[in-house]
Symmetry: C2
């Protein structure tokens, strides 16, 4: 397909949007990025995705694909991202297990507690849930990241990439979530050498560069965020 | 593959486990059911799925597949459940969007507020989160189910099944979530005739029968739960 006018509605610190930005860059699919603050529930955006969530990818013919999972599977099925899918059904099940680990478990236990509390709520109107971070949620997120980092290290120590020999959707989903926490400076990289080495490799890829340039107004990342020798 | 000794670790009122029970029945894959109370974090179970969550399907050769998404895609790829996948990539993206709607959004906004609070916490030891339901969560769940039922009706009114002409994983994921809420008698079926008609059709399928026989100790479902003329 020609990629001239594919649009990706995203939010810079949304890990699911970041996953699709990494994916399209790795797959060589050019997209026009449009930032969407989904909590404003803009009617035109709700028509694209009634769930009111980013990411949404709109193809040239106007077809809207919603969610990092459906978008990933679509790009793998139609060829662009097929190299990011392992070869056998059992290996693909293992990859999807790890994707789900990060997009469900890590998101619930870490990202929502830290990114939603410390960044998103800063920009939301008060009547939509905006306000100061919930200190108990932040504490839970800071505790949970350590166990998750240990699991990343466990996988990275046994395998070349998180789900096997080749870079796959699992690495992109994990890196997308971790990169949001890293923007806040809350990943204790010193606690796991294999996790640190894996992240250094994926952070050095050209697909990662645009994420490292993201800036949230009034909340710059720590210097290590964009440093390849972190 | 021969299905003689495939094992499914499940929990009766877990909507993700129910999704896989429906799926295997529709696909003609025989499974041996083993009830797992995942919150007990049994070491042998954590070896199968380090996330400590049901469902987990163990194949004859000992390969463990974790999570309703990975299991569904595996059964579709290996042939048994291929009829539950639409034919084109765009239709499959639409189906996966609806699956994600129910397994992420509905689960977070309705199921966790009602089933986790009213059933799961009843059986959990106090130190693991057991106890009386949180009244605010239950109120939120009861409010949210109405908007979700309206959306089911919207889809069912426009299409033969939720994601298109054919029964698909989307119908199974939606029915699995709704069936757990229906066990509690909290689905206001009278508010949407098309949603009611769609559920009546799927509830009448042979694959649904084992779910209608489920009984939680000390908490029987209302008579309408197992009644095909509800």
């Amino acid at each position: 397909m020609s990629n001239a006018s594919i649009t990706l509605y995203h939010y810079p610190l949304c890990p699911f949007s970041r996953m699709v930005r990494l994916l399209t860059a790795e797959a060589g699919v050019k997209v026009r990025l449009v930032e969407e603050r989904a909590w404003n529930r803009r009617p035109e955006f709700l028509q694209l995705n009634p769930a009111g969530e980013v990411p949404v990818m709109v193809l040239e013919d106007g077809t809207a694909l919603s969610g990092s999972g459906p978008i990933s599977e679509f790009l793998a099925e139609t060829g662009a991202a097929s190299a990011l899918m392992p070869d056998t059904p059992v290996e693909r099940a293992e990859m999807r297990r790890i994707v789900a680990w990060f997009e469900r478990k890590f998101d619930r236990e870490v990202t929502r507690n830290l990114v939603t509390e410390k960044i998103d709520r800063r920009f939301m109107p008060k009547e939509l849930g905006g306000g100061a971070p919930d200190a108990a949620a932040v504490r839970a997120g800071l505790a949970n990241i350590r166990a998750h980092l240990k699991y990343v290290g466990y996988l990275a120590h046994r395998r070349n990439w998180l789900s096997g020999e080749r870079l796959s959707l699992a690495d992109l989903a994990a890196a997308a979530q971790l990169s949001c926490i890293d923007y806040l400076g809350h990943v204790p990289w010193g606690e796991s050498a294999p996790a640190h080495a894996w992240y250094a490799r994926i952070k050095s890829r050209p697909s990662f560069r645009p994420l490292l340039a993201d800036q949230v107004a009034g909340m710059p990342p720590p210097p290590a965020y964009a440093d390849l020798d972190f």
